[in-house]
């Protein structure tokens, strides 16, 4: 059975300039022990989707309009507030994008970790402290620094504290929202490796949100590409990397430098993401797509299965490799 299944999730934000359609019918599914990479550029709705899973969308202005979020078969949207609170931090936990602002500046880091342990395991203060120290050791922070405050830690250490908070209660599902984006390149690999190791140690499923396909290649078995609040392509890592079907995914690959391809310049995807208050009537990637046709401009493509477990939202999915790759 799926650990997490999202069906047709729609999230909107009511703003002064109009309704922002942040997430428009997202379908995702995640098996137990699996690692799913959710990839897309800034503003594609990745973080909003993740916050939606934990029901952490600020309402107002945000609102989950429709859809189902099934966790172990139960719809989170129909749960009572206290049931959702029991899930948060306990069964489903989240690593946030920016460790600089994700920790409370006036509470010692040790306490911030122990707090979540005490809350969910209903244990004594001493027992929570003992587990907290063990957790600190796991993320390789010396135990004697438990009484220090976030401003006394470096960015990488803060992110390790955030990881410790997220994993303190051995969650079933870990949502890592761009866990390395705010960090130095030198620390990124180290933090990512740590997340991966701990994830395997406690058999957690992971939803890894990122815009870095390199990280996905290293980490995830399954990948979903998100664009303008929709999943445009999803499948196994092999499907996405070797049998790229959607023009947007191809564009993403063309814009990453590669060691074995000799090229002067990267090929960016021309144009910008459509205005989420005013999405195009047809394919939302249409305005930027090099293969766009009249059909794309008028009719929105549906997500269709083009191979076993490989889905693509395009009228003309190609199983062939991208033109650049073919040239080699």
């Amino acid at each position: 059975m799926e650990l997490l299944q999202i069906k047709d999730l729609r999230i909107q934000f009511n703003t002064d300039t109009g309704i922002v359609h942040a997430v428009n019918g997202v379908d995702l599914s995640l098996q137990e022990g699996e690692c799913l990479g959710l990839v897309g550029e800034t503003g594609a709705g990745k973080t909003t989707t993740a916050l939606g899973i934990l029901d952490l969308i600020q309402t107002p202005p945000g609102k989950i309009v429709s859809g189902e979020i099934l966790y172990k078969g139960r719809n989170i949207r129909e749960m009572k507030p206290h049931e959702i609170r029991d899930l948060r931090g306990n069964e489903i936990s989240m690593i946030f994008q920016d460790p600089m602002s994700a920790l409370n500046p006036v509470i010692p880091v040790g306490h911030q970790i122990a707090e979540v342990i005490r809350l969910h395991q209903k244990c004594s203060k001493n027992e929570a402290d003992r587990q907290m120290l063990a957790m600190l050791e796991k993320v390789r922070i010396p135990a004697e620094r438990a009484d220090e405050y976030p401003h006394q830690f470096s960015g990488g250490m803060k992110q390790r504290v955030v990881i410790a908070i997220a994993l303190a209660c051995n969650p079933k599902l870990l949502i890592a929202d761009e866990p390395t984006t705010a960090l130095d390149v030198t620390i990124q690999a180290q933090v990512l490796k740590m997340i991966r190791e701990l994830q395997q140690e406690i058999h957690t499923s992971m939803l890894l949100i990122t815009h870095d396909l390199g990280i996905v290649a290293q980490t995830c078995e399954k990948v979903a590409i998100m664009y303008a609040g929709e999943i445009v392509e999803s499948g196994t890592a092999e499907d996405i990397f070797d049998r790229t079907a959607h023009p947007y995914t191809k564009g993403l690959f063309a814009s990453i430098p590669s060691i074995d391809r000799k090229m002067r310049r990267l090929t960016p995807i021309e144009g910008l993401m459509p205005d989420p208050t005013d999405l195009p009537a047809g394919c939302s990637f249409g305005p930027r797509c090099p293969y766009v046709s009249d059909l794309c401009r008028e009719h929105k493509p549906e997500l269709q299965e083009i191979g076993a477990g490989h889905f693509c939202r395009c009228h003309f999915p190609s199983q062939k490799r991208s033109p650049e790759k073919e040239g080699q």
Partner: protein
């Protein structure tokens, strides 16, 4: 930390000296003689001259100023009032408790009402409750205290006979002055709490706290409030500092023998030496409350505490470097 406190206490000395010099200078150049006021219009020019000599008012500027400071250091005395012929310090000490009681209660009242109201308005943003709280805060802030004092006297005392019009013969007499002094700070505290809280609950770490599965109450009280407190402490500290120095207007209207009233009468009676004493005490209270406010900052925010400690450490290393040179 203790080093920081000691340093701040030493800083009090130049602040107080500066205050005395400024007020003394203004009084010095005033051309109305307190001796003439004391002796009345019938006194001869010679009698006035003799009185001024007795008080040392005809000495040069620096001699008078020096004498004032010397008296404080050697005898711990603020001089003798020209008008009442009593030690100034004793007059102030007789009146200070009244001012402190009213000031303390007014400021505390404003904190007890303002902060909860502000928090409520923030967490129920854009609801009827928020609008009512904001409206009340603006209303309270918009009424000038003297209008409020007179209105209260008219309604509560003259019309309804619930409270005495003025004076503090019984505890009932304190009620109107406390309200009069407390209304403006309630408004300030409430609005500052609301905006600070609103800013805090949008922070990422509040989202982290919610993602841990904490109850909304715990999120607000434990994670948000402590972070929102810094700007609130500034306002509350100012409220205490100002209330404890006494209000000239409400003490005059309600005829309360307090510091503000003494300051007021000492100005109109040209009792310069009493005036100087009052200002000195007020400046002391102000600086002292500010120091306490700064210490509370450090208690609330570890980053500020680290700063205080760091400045101390830096000062020490500088000294060591100087010694080495």
């Amino acid at each position: 930390m203790i080093r920081y406190i000691i340093r701040r206490l030493f800083l009090l000395i130049p602040i107080l000296i500066g205050t005395v010099v400024i007020v003394f200078t203004i009084n010095f150049f005033s051309d109305i003689s307190p001796a003439r006021l004391v002796l009345g219009p019938t006194a001869t020019e010679e009698q006035v001259e003799a009185k001024e000599d007795e008080w040392g008012l005809n000495d040069p500027y620096l001699v008078q100023l020096g004498r004032y400071f010397w008296r404080i250091v050697s005898q711990g005395s603020l001089g003798t009032s020209y008008i009442y012929n009593q030690p100034v310090l004793k007059m102030i000490m007789d009146r200070l408790p009244n001012t402190l009681i009213i000031g303390l209660l007014a400021a505390t009242l404003s904190v007890m009402i303002g902060i909860p109201l502000g928090i409520l308005a923030a967490i129920k943003q854009n609801t009827a409750l928020d609008y009512i709280a904001t409206f009340l805060a603006i209303l309270c802030g918009a009424i000038p205290p003297f209008v409020l004092c007179i209105l209260m006297q008219l309604v509560l005392a003259v019309r309804l006979h619930w409270l005495p019009v003025s004076g503090i013969r019984s505890w009932l007499g304190y009620i109107m002055p406390i309200i009069a002094c407390g209304v403006m700070p309630v408004a300030m505290t409430c609005r500052m709490t609301r905006s600070s809280m609103l800013e805090t609950i949008r922070q990422d770490y509040i989202r982290t706290a919610r993602a841990k599965g904490l109850k909304e109450g715990t999120v607000i009280w434990k994670h948000a409030l402590k972070n929102a407190l810094i700007p609130i402490i500034t306002v509350v500290g100012m409220t205490y500092a100002m209330s404890l120095c006494g209000s000239i207007i409400s003490e005059a209207i309600f005829n309360i023998p307090g510091l503000g009233n003494l300051m007021n009468s000492s100005i109109s009676q040209k009792d310069y030496i009493t005036n100087l004493g009052c200002v000195l005490v007020a400046a002391f209270i102000m600086s002292f409350v500010t120091l306490i406010t700064d210490l509370i900052y450090a208690a609330v925010d570890p980053r500020i505490k680290a700063q205080y400690a760091a400045t101390g450490k830096r000062a020490r290393t500088y000294k060591r470097k100087e010694a080495a040179v």
